[in-house]
């Protein structure tokens, strides 16, 4: 991961997490369900434009990204974030279950894809895979 990480109280490497989704329920769900103590939430955004601004201010290491959002969608946002910080790890969490969307997200720089709806276990497995 990048050099901007720090240690948390347990001596574990601390990573900054940003959650991007236009649904309040989904943002809270991801925040509540992720079980990694090394992940410190630095902020949430409801669309791609907000996400880019928040990203510039908080410099996250890990991002969960919805695709279908107003103003700027997740696909465009992924490209913007990767351009700002190539080492960022991005997990797409979307109801769009078609292969073409997943491929497009990966081509823009996403590192993983999780379909909605998801269980807590699926979410944590996907995040774990992302952080390897």
């Amino acid at each position: 991961m990048n050099n901007g990480t720090s240690m948390n109280g347990n001596g574990k490497r601390s990573l900054k997490l940003m959650i991007v989704d236009d649904s309040n329920i989904m943002r809270r769900r991801i925040e509540r369900s992720q079980q990694f103590e090394e992940l410190q939430l630095v902020g949430t955004a409801g669309n791609g434009e907000e996400a880019v601004e928040l990203f510039k201010r908080t410099d996250p290491d890990v991002v969960t990204m919805d695709i279908t959002m107003p103003r700027m969608d997740g696909i465009e946002c992924i490209g913007r974030l990767v351009a700002l910080k190539p080492a960022v790890r991005i997990l797409v969490i979307s109801a769009l279950a078609d292969k073409a969307t997943a491929v497009e997200a990966m081509e823009r720089g996403a590192n993983g894809f999780l379909n909605k709806p998801f269980t807590d276990r699926q979410l944590n497995e996907a995040i774990q895979e992302l952080m390897r």
Binding site: S23, I25, R28, A95, L96, A97, K116, P117
Partner: protein, 148 residues
Amino acid sequence: MLYEQELKTFVEGTTNFFEVAAQQPASIGSPYLMEGTPAVHEYTGVINISGKREGVVYFTAPKAMLTVLLMKMQENDFSHETMRDLVGEVANTISGNARRDFGRDFVISVPSVLTNEKPEVPQKPGQRSFIIPINWRSHSAKLVVSLT
């Protein structure tokens, strides 16, 4: 003409949400043809479809069902906005399933959410609207599929 496989895709998109998000499967009632104006509950998530087929698909649910669903999802905000958010997520899942199964032959809109309003259902020759009851715990919602 609505093919059975197409109907199945929309139904599975709906039931999948309950099974995964609430960890409790929903059951399906017997589908029937809609007559007259569309029936709706308090909250309705709508997707518009064009391309190979044209029309609308919507999921409409009573507030009581959505409240219990939110509880099962460990959510503790039961505001009007959260209800709208939830019904939008169900519609989003239906839309995602349809895109996966139908590919680019179907152009599927981003879901919109209505509160205590009836969606506009186009009335075209050959259009048939099916209502599929979605039963979950003691509550019942409706999936309406209206396509040419």
